[in-house]
């Protein structure tokens, strides 16, 4: 599609830098406004930023407090903002109403397999595109990028039919197998990283008698560990968040992921806000924890690929 090239031009294609400097800020010596103007603008900036962030955080705060409110507080007519009494009943009630632990375990297994598949296959393909000179590699790269322009709703049904013919619906295979076949955005990301490494690294290893596979595993992969971690992180999030895949393929409730389980839970107990918020909170926590540990990886990865996190 026409979109590909320009879209990629828009997403800055370069290896990640360290914390960017504030390019637009002139050195302090150039601009020296009077103290009170400076104070006023600083106050105005913070007022706007704090106001907006409060608005942004209201739903999340509402979720977390809701998870710890008593049934009486949840249903009180003048809305209770801050619970007088904190309770864990919502969590125990949720665990009784649906198999919380099993859903989390299922999701974790799917995530783990998907991460392994996505990292291994995308690194391999990225290496093949970036560091081996063979005829057709440019064409293949363009085709890989072009596949990302095809919307899910065109391929969803035939892919479903393939798995159904193979008897693989109602298993986790359709949720995991595609990651073992190379994920286009990660291939793109890793290719950029791999191309930035000097050619001499491979040359000297080749002189020492190493073949491509040995160069890939022993020389190159250790050098791109941060990029591999980024890919793993993004795939974990994608699998953790996935809804359409489990919705289409899983009918046995023992195989459900947490997102799918939460959806049906909402359908059945739409007014049980306490347990619903408890489960939502539990679903969000791993993602937020991951984010705080790997903030820079997240932000650099999004900047590089333009992918939505």
């Amino acid at each position: 599609m026409a979109g590909t090239e320009t879209a990629l031009a828009g997403a800055t294609v370069e290896p990640p830098r360290d914390e960017r400097t504030l390019a637009t800020d002139p050195p302090a010596s150039v601009r020296r406004p009077r103290p009170w103007t400076w104070l006023l603008t600083a106050l105005a900036k913070h007022a706007v930023l704090i106001g907006l962030s409060v608005v942004f955080l209201i739903p999340l705060a509402w979720m977390v407090t809701g998870a710890f409110k008593t049934a009486a507080d949840l249903n009180a007519t003048p809305t209770v903002w801050w619970p007088d009494q904190i309770t864990f009943d919502n969590f125990t009630q949720a665990a009784q109403l649906f198999p919380l632990a099993r859903y989390f375990l299922n999701t974790a297994v799917i995530c783990l397999l998907s991460v392994v598949g996505a990292v291994a296959s995308s690194a391999m393909v990225g290496y093949g595109l970036a560091r081996i000179e063979w005829r057709g590699r440019t064409v293949l790269f363009v085709i890989i990028l072009a596949t990302t322009m095809i919307p899910f709703y065109v391929t969803m049904l035939p892919v479903f039919e393939i798995y159904r013919t193979l008897g693989l619906t109602n298993t986790w295979v359709p949720l995991v197998l595609p990651q073992f076949l190379g994920v286009p955005i990660y291939i793109f990301l890793l290719r950029q990283f791999l191309m930035s490494l000097p050619k001499e690294l491979s040359e000297s290893a080749r002189i020492d008698g190493a073949n491509e596979w040995q160069i890939f595993v022993r020389v190159i992969l250790p050098l791109v560990k941060p990029a591999l971690v980024a890919v793993g992180l993004f795939q974990f999030l994608a699998s953790w968040n996935d809804f359409l895949g489990p919705l289409i393929y899983l009918s046995d409730s023992r195989l459900y992921t947490i997102s799918l389980g939460l959806n049906f839970f909402k359908g059945e107990y739409s007014s049980e806000f306490g347990p619903l918020m408890a489960v939502s909170t539990l679903t969000v926590v791993p993602v937020v924890v991951l984010f705080f540990f790997a903030q820079r990886t997240f932000i650099e990865g999004i900047t590089l690929t333009g992918v939505k996190g």
Partner: protein, 318 residues
Amino acid sequence: MSSVEKTAPSSPPAAARPRPRPGRSRLQRSNQRWGLLFCSPAILGILLLTVYPVARSFQQSLTTSTMMTDGRFVGLQNYRDLLTDGAFWQALGNTVFILGWSLPLSIAFALVLALLLNMRVRGRSVYRVLFFLPSIVPLVASAVVWSYVFNPQHGVLNSLLGTVGITGPSWLSDPDWAKPALVVVAVWGVGSLMVILLAGVQDVPAQLYEQARIDGADAFSRFRNVTLPFMSPHLLFALVTGVIAGFQYFTEVFVLTDGTGGPAGSTMVAGLYLYQNIFYFFKTGYASAMAWVLFLVAAAVALVLFRTVGRRVYYGGS
């Protein structure tokens, strides 16, 4: 190394073999094999998950096939039926409504946030985290939380509106307010776009701002004549990917309306109508035709944006 040495001696003399191009060295042939080997997962993936499905989808769109039967060839009948299917046009209209509001709002909002965060403020990284956080919340969890926020009796939104004397609508159960509610949910996830635009703002050369300042340009004209041109490739990128994503809008509305697209079809978007045709009504041939029409509409909109907005994009920057 091993595969090269194994195959080379056993292969027939060079002259007797058909060669793709004269003068291809041993290294080149070895590279060709390794390259194909390393890329084989992707090649298999493209064939299995894209090439075959795309062909099959088009073929199916010309038949009366259902989930159980292959159906018979009816030419373009499904496409003709789509033209007179009121529900499809309503779904398309709803999709365009939600996209038409949420995308410009998101882009404007993300740009404002990026510009604010690019200024010298204390605690910049804290603000960045706060605005980014909603965009990583899993979609189902976010939909469940919003269904509670929008709840007319117990939700926080109408409670807040009540404190300033406004009686809020019943949002997701009111046909007039359900779509605006979905727009709010979409704009809430603006954080990742903000991060992309922030990177763009930081790439604007600092000396241009200095030059503009020396020439006496005020803040607005610096924005208009320096920031905006340098940001335009990023904005076009946001616009086009946003349109493509907007036509694939599904999960939020599915969870928020329990797969119904209600109330009164007011949130029935194209993705959901297509899903229903496959998995509720089993009209797979019809749904395939719908998928192609949707794809063409999305591609046409993206193309028009390229031809119009894209012409004004400044590529002198990055």
